[in-house]
């Protein structure tokens, strides 16, 4: 690598992004859908509770948003650090 310092900063920014996104990924699937479901049982959604909705639909919608947001954020980081193709 001819520009190690720039690509190091790029990699650190990428890792930070991944960490934040994985927290959201975890909370919206394993969290709301499984572990925290009992705590959300008071919030009703169409004949059942919010946890059920997250487990069967909400998590998938969040996953979709996460991937496109990650792709957009990385395109921006690629340009900022001059490592785009």
């Amino acid at each position: 690598m001819d520009d190690t310092s720039s690509s190091n900063a790029y990699w650190k920014a990428n890792i930070r992004t991944i960490q934040i996104f994985l927290v959201i990924w975890f909370v919206c699937s394993f969290g709301f859908g499984i572990l925290l479901r009992p705590m959300l049982s008071g919030i009703g959604v169409g004949g059942t509770d919010l946890g059920f909705w997250f487990a069967q639909q909400g998590s998938i919608l969040v996953f979709l948003v996460l991937i496109f947001a990650y792709a957009a954020r990385m395109n921006k980081l690629d340009r900022e650090h001059g490592v785009e193709e």
Binding site: S29, G46, T48, F52, Q56, I60, M74, G82, E85
Partner: protein
């Protein structure tokens, strides 16, 4: 026109389309054969990935699994979609930048070890072969139900079609056929679901219908819960599995999904790193169209089933066997739906108690019987037949591609005859593909004991060996050859032993010491163990790498270079 002719016409038309695409998309070089020349548009690749990923299990079985499992089966919904987030952030872009052809090739190069590469090839072949048998039997079932041919004939026709476009077109032919197959399967899945949702809830979008009110004025899920409890079943929306097992099962499916080689290689076909990232998003869009519909189909099918058996409500007498609708008669012939008049009153008792229940419905018929249950026109039934075949064939082709490239590229080119010419390698890839199809067909005709263990075996191996190796190879420079091999082997072996302890040694009946109902570790079923195997892999790899020699400089440079997108274009012509 009778139903048989209609089925023949619709299925025949889709097959003609696949063959037409195969002739158009012939592969002329190894880059085209292995990676479709790396010129596939990310949206197209997303669609192809959708078809590649959604197998006979997703199309035919999943709605039924959900219908009879309720909330617990959310693990499949989250697991088989959440893996794409991991793929998009942790694997796909970097592996695309690496710019080679197969998953074992990355593992071999990054860990500078033929042993690591061979372990990856073995895992890939076991996982893919297990998976492909399920697709081949699915093809046989769909043919025999809808085209009135024997299971064997159906299998041979299916194999011949795959042979045509996979051997001639390689990844290029498979990619564009998968795009067509995606369209067929999603249309076939959605149309009956829309009709059923409209009929039950008045909402044309099944995913919203699931949370809407039925004509009775109650929310659909409340009504379903009430009926099930009256019949002695547990609440549909209640968790009956343990939280620990559900958590680990979901996690195993997620990391298994991200580690399945036939899915990963699809991201080698796009032109750039940025395309690989966004293409994972498009793949999930196309997958979500089915996965957001499936839970609605499941719940609605269960409700329709109860309403069919108890036309005046569950408090009144059930339907007389003599008065059963035509779809029940049709499916009785397949043996997948059974009535056993235990109390001899001629009525169909459908209750939770096994001793009193007289009506057994195989969960695999839910999707296929849906159009008949909802009284939809004949062309919809024909379309569902074509959709089931598209789902099975597209996944089979993707798996066969992964198997044949592992054999021709990772074994023949890399270990047996490194001086082979490109033309020679292309020929050997085609021969490997033809042999793989023949083996898969034979295994489809004579399914071995492990064929039914796709979830435990394929996802278990991908989760415990392939995913951690790939992730550590990208995110850590410290993991060396010894650490990676030790990690992969320990993850793999412990997972296999756990599966064997519960399913029998090499799946031989009667040799199991534990059962999934009463497992060895707490409540962890053998299907949920992949995540534990992955953890073992990570820990062993780090500990062993820490005690052995550091990775050489050129490998550290390789890791640096795959972390940045710049320069991926050059890899196209490698």
């Amino acid at each position: 026109m009778d139903q048989f002719t209609l089925n023949l016409l619709v299925v025949g038309a889709t097959f003609a389309l696949y063959i037409g695409i195969a002739i158009w998309a012939r592969a002329g070089s190894t880059a085209e054969f292995y990676a479709a020349g790396r010129g596939v548009h990310p949206v197209m690749n997303g669609m192809a990935t959708g078809a590649d990923w959604m197998s006979a299990a997703s199309f035919i079985s999943m709605a039924g699994i959900i219908a009879f499992g309720g909330f617990n089966t959310s693990a499949y919904l989250m697991g088989w979609t959440g893996g794409y987030v991991l793929l998009a952030m942790l694997l796909a872009p970097y592996l695309r930048k690496f710019g080679k052809f197969t998953v074992p090739e990355f593992i071999g190069d990054r860990f500078y070890s033929q042993t690591a590469r061979t372990v990856a090839v073995v895992c890939l072949i076991i996982a893919s072969v297990t998976y492909v048998i399920g697709q081949m039997t699915g093809v046989g079932v769909a043919f025999s139900r809808f085209l009135e041919v024997s299971n064997e004939t159906g299998l041979f026709i299916g194999a011949a079609i795959v042979f045509m476009y996979a051997v001639v077109g390689g990844m290029k032919g498979i990619t564009y056929t998968q795009v067509a197959q995606y369209v067929v399967l999603i249309v076939a899945y959605t149309i009956p679901a829309i009709f059923i949702s409209l009929e039950l809830t008045g909402n044309p979008i099944p995913g919203l219908g699931l949370f809407s009110q039925t004509q009775s004025g109650q929310p659909l899920l409340t009504e379903l819960n009430g009926l099930l409890v009256d019949l002695g079943f547990s609440n549909y929306t209640e968790q009956t599995d343990t939280t620990l097992n559900m958590f680990l099962f979901t996690l195993s499916l997620m990391i298994g999904t991200a580690g399945l080689p036939h899915v990963i290689v699809r991201f080698f076909t796009v032109p750039s790193v940025a395309d690989a990232r966004v293409s994972a998003g498009w793949a999930l869009v196309f997958i979500a169209l089915l996965y957001l519909t499936a839970p609605a189909v499941g719940a609605m099918a269960r409700l329709n089933l109860i309403n069919t058996v108890y036309p005046q409500g569950v408090a009144e007498a059930p339907l007389a066997y003599e008065a059963r609708p035509d779809w029940v008669k049709n499916w009785e012939q397949t043996g997948l739906l059974k009535f056993d008049d235990k109390n001899g009153d001629g009525l169909i008792q459908y209750v939770a108690d096994d001793a009193a229940n007289e009506f057994t419905v195989n969960r695999d018929i839910i999707t296929l019987a849906n159009p008949e249950i909802a009284n939809l026109p004949g062309w919809v039934i024909a379309l569902v037949a074509a959709g089931g075949l598209a789902a099975a064939l597209s996944t089979a082709a993707g798996l066969l591609m992964a198997i044949s490239s592992a054999v021709s590229h990772d074994l023949i080119k890399s270990q047996i005859n490194p001086s082979i010419s490109e033309k020679g390698e292309l020929l050997s890839a085609r021969i490997a593909m033809a042999v793989a199809i023949a083996v898969a067909t034979w295994l489809g005709l004579n399914p071995p004991g492990f064929a039914a263990q796709t979830v435990a075996l394929a996802f278990g191996l991908a989760a415990s060996s392939i995913f951690p190796a790939l992730m550590m190879g990208i995110f850590s420079k410290r993991i060396n050859n010894t650490g990676a091999v030790a990690g992969m082997l320990s993850g793999l072996i412990v997972t296999l032993i756990y599966i064997f302890l519960h399913k029998g040694w090499f799946f031989v009946a009667g040799t199991a010491s534990f059962s999934d109902a009463d497992p060895l570790l707490l409540s962890v079923k053998s299907t949920s163990f992949g995540a534990v195997g992955a953890l073992i892999n990570f820990v062993v790899a780090f500990v062993v790498s820490g005690m052995t020699k550091e990775t050489p400089q050129e490998i550290q440079d390789l890791v640096e270079s795959i972390r940045v997108p710049k320069g991926a274009g050059a890899a196209v012509d490698h």
